[in-house]
């Protein structure tokens, strides 16, 4: 098939938004679009993929796919890929995708281009744009193997609904149990409904100026006001001080994010931090130090004490929302 196979990730019983984004991209690239969805209960979710351009949807469903176990999922997906024989494989560079994609590429004995923010086609070659140095530079990269395996950063591309009904096929996978050596003992996922920082549309982030862990409650309150697509983040200084877990860290040794709105509270804007959030669509900086480098990148700067500004901002937003 001279088309594209996408991997649709399932989490908490739902197909992730990133899957719809890559399905839309696959449709735009042209050729047949096949999707592979793996998960317990995946069959019921499969029709959603047709709405975003999948012509054919391969479903791998069963209790052994309840948790993401790399070897199990890689085996299942590779078997589907060998049936489909796509020239392009698209995945989402989510937390799971970052584990899954290189393993799939290695199993298919090709390379991969990871965490891309734009994908175009030149003839039958895909050229992908990806950030390096946490966004301090961008590379245009071409894959020379077949298939071309490319993971796409969540939120970088839009998802577009199209008319059409994809055919759904349930696939029976032959798992080679001898290769599945890791066993999952427990999975602990926080009950939060907050999106991951890499997938959030709004991030309210705090730095050294927050002064202590207890003060992050007001950032959480502000994020909550912005709605379900918002979450909180932190600078390295706040994480290293032990005020926030490292999964909150935005920057070169943390997460690279690209939300619609990034609100930096008490963050001076070290080069490593700015690399990680510099592609945010709108940046707001609240800092009492008028000389803080963050103000050179911020679309809106508030030079004042965040402990006065943030509570007042919360009240003002409440007023606007009625």
């Amino acid at each position: 098939m001279a088309g594209t196979l996408i991997y649709a990730e399932v989490q908490k019983g739902e197909i992730k938004k990133g899957a719809f984004e890559i399905a839309s991209k696959a449709k735009e690239l042209g050729g047949d679009v096949a999707a592979c969805v793996i998960g317990k209960g995946a069959e019921a979710l499969a029709p959603q993929l047709a709405k975003y351009g999948a012509d054919k949807i391969y479903v791998v469903d069963g209790s052994e796919y309840e948790n993401y176990v790399p070897e199990t999922f890689v085996q299942a997906f590779v078997q589907v890929a060998q049936t489909v024989q796509p020239s392009v494989i698209l995945t989402s560079a989510s937390a799971q995708g970052k584990d899954f994609t290189p393993a799939v590429a290695a199993r298919l004995n090709v390379g991969a281009i990871s965490d891309c923010v734009a994908v175009t086609k030149e003839g039958d070659k895909i050229i992908a744009k990806r950030p390096m140095y946490a966004g301090k530079a961008y590379a245009m990269v071409e894959a020379v193997g077949n298939p071309q395996v490319i993971s796409i950063r969540p939120n970088a591309l839009g998802a577009k609904e199209v008319a059409g009904a994809g055919a759904i096929e349930k696939v029976a996978v032959n798992l080679d149990a001898s290769k599945i050596k890791a066993t999952v003992k427990s999975v602990e996922v926080a009950a939060t409904t907050e999106p991951d920082q890499t997938e959030a549309e709004i991030i309210v982030s705090g730095g050294r100026g927050m002064k202590g862990p207890e003060n992050f409650a007001m950032l959480e309150q502000l994020a909550k006001l912005f709605g379900p697509t918002a979450t909180t983040g932190a600078s390295r200084a706040a994480v290293d001080a032990g005020w926030r877990g490292h999964s909150y860290q935005v920057g070169q040794t943390g997460k690279t994010v690209s939300p619609n709105l990034y609100v930096a509270c008490g963050i001076s804007g070290a080069i490593q931090h700015m690399a990680g959030m510099g592609t945010s669509k709108v940046i707001v900086a609240i800092n009492k130090d008028a000389e803080a480098p963050i103000f050179t990148k911020a679309d809106y700067g508030v030079v004042d004490d965040l402990f006065n500004v943030v509570p007042a901002l919360i009240e003002e937003i409440k007023k606007i929302k009625g």
């Binding site: 970052k98 590429a105 965490d115 530079a137 590379a139 066993t183 427990s186 606007i320």
Partner: protein, 258 residues
């Protein structure tokens, strides 16, 4: 416990990146161990200490300059190293080619675990751990934040970071593990450590001598800098409350986000 640590030398995170052709300008760069690889080095040394001995072998692909970072790891407490010193191969190496060279450097060594950083902080690809595991035919656990080997060194119980939480996994050894921040606090090299490191054995080989024939599977066609961001406006107001009101208004009317 015997371990192998794959290490990459990268520009310090303070580096202001400048483009040169399809790569970056390397003048004036301070080269350091990639920060996630530091966690890998620390974990290997920690396990050696905890498990009552063994050996930590560093394997690194890089040009001549990479030896400095290899010596830093030896000074931290690693015992010996394989330096795949091949500037020409390294220059074109993508994650696939890098994994080929590292796996070739690892083959023939005796080990219970291979540790790598979850990604190098220069190309940020995050592919090498999975690919090395595949090439060695070993299970891979990425994003590890806690590692505990069984007393008989036949298995390990590890905690890996997943989206919004954690997963605890039992895996037989040998296996490949990629280190995430939170795994440990890397130590600094001590002065005696630095002195000792100078005499520790480093096996230097080029890719050809290791029998690596596979080339890169991806090619960088062009490199560019992101568009420069301009400073926007500073919100004026008599006090914090007035500024907050003006900001809320801007977010509502201009950004249309509220």
């Amino acid at each position: 416990m015997n371990t192998v640590v794959c290490l990459k030398q990268v520009p310090d995170t303070e580096t202001l990146i400048k483009v040169a052709g399809t790569s970056i300008a390397t003048d004036g760069i301070k080269w350091v161990i990639s920060s996630f690889d530091e966690f890998a080095v620390e974990e290997a040394i920690k396990q050696k200490e905890k498990m009552g001995g063994g050996k930590v072998t560093i394997v690194s692909l890089g040009p001549d300059r990479a030896i400095e970072s290899v010596r830093t790891a030896l000074a931290m407490g690693a015992d010996d190293a394989v330096h795949v010193n091949d500037g020409a191969y390294y220059e074109k190496a993508d994650p696939y080619a890098t994994a080929q060279a590292l796996a070739a450097g690892i083959k023939g060594l005796t080990y219970d675990a291979v540790f790598l950083g979850k990604q190098a902080i220069d190309d940020d690809a995050g592919q090498v751990p999975a690919m090395v595991g595949e090439l060695l035919g070993l299970p891979v656990v990425t994003q590890v934040i806690k590692f505990e080997a069984a007393a008989d060194k036949k298995s390990a119980t590890v905690t890996r970071e997943i989206e919004g939480g954690q997963m605890v996994i039992d895996v037989p050894l040998p296996a490949v593990f990629s280190a995430q921040k939170g795994l440990n606090e890397p130590r600094y090299a001590s002065l005696p450590g630095i002195m000792k490191a100078k005499k520790k054995p480093v096996d230097v080989k080029n890719a050809g001598a290791l029998g690596v024939t596979a080339g890169p599977m991806t090619v960088v066609k062009e490199m560019s800098l992101p568009p420069a961001r301009q400073a926007g406006k500073i919100i004026a107001g008599d006090d914090a409350k007035a500024k907050a009101a003006a900001l809320a208004k801007a977010l509502h009317e201009e950004v249309k986000i509220i």
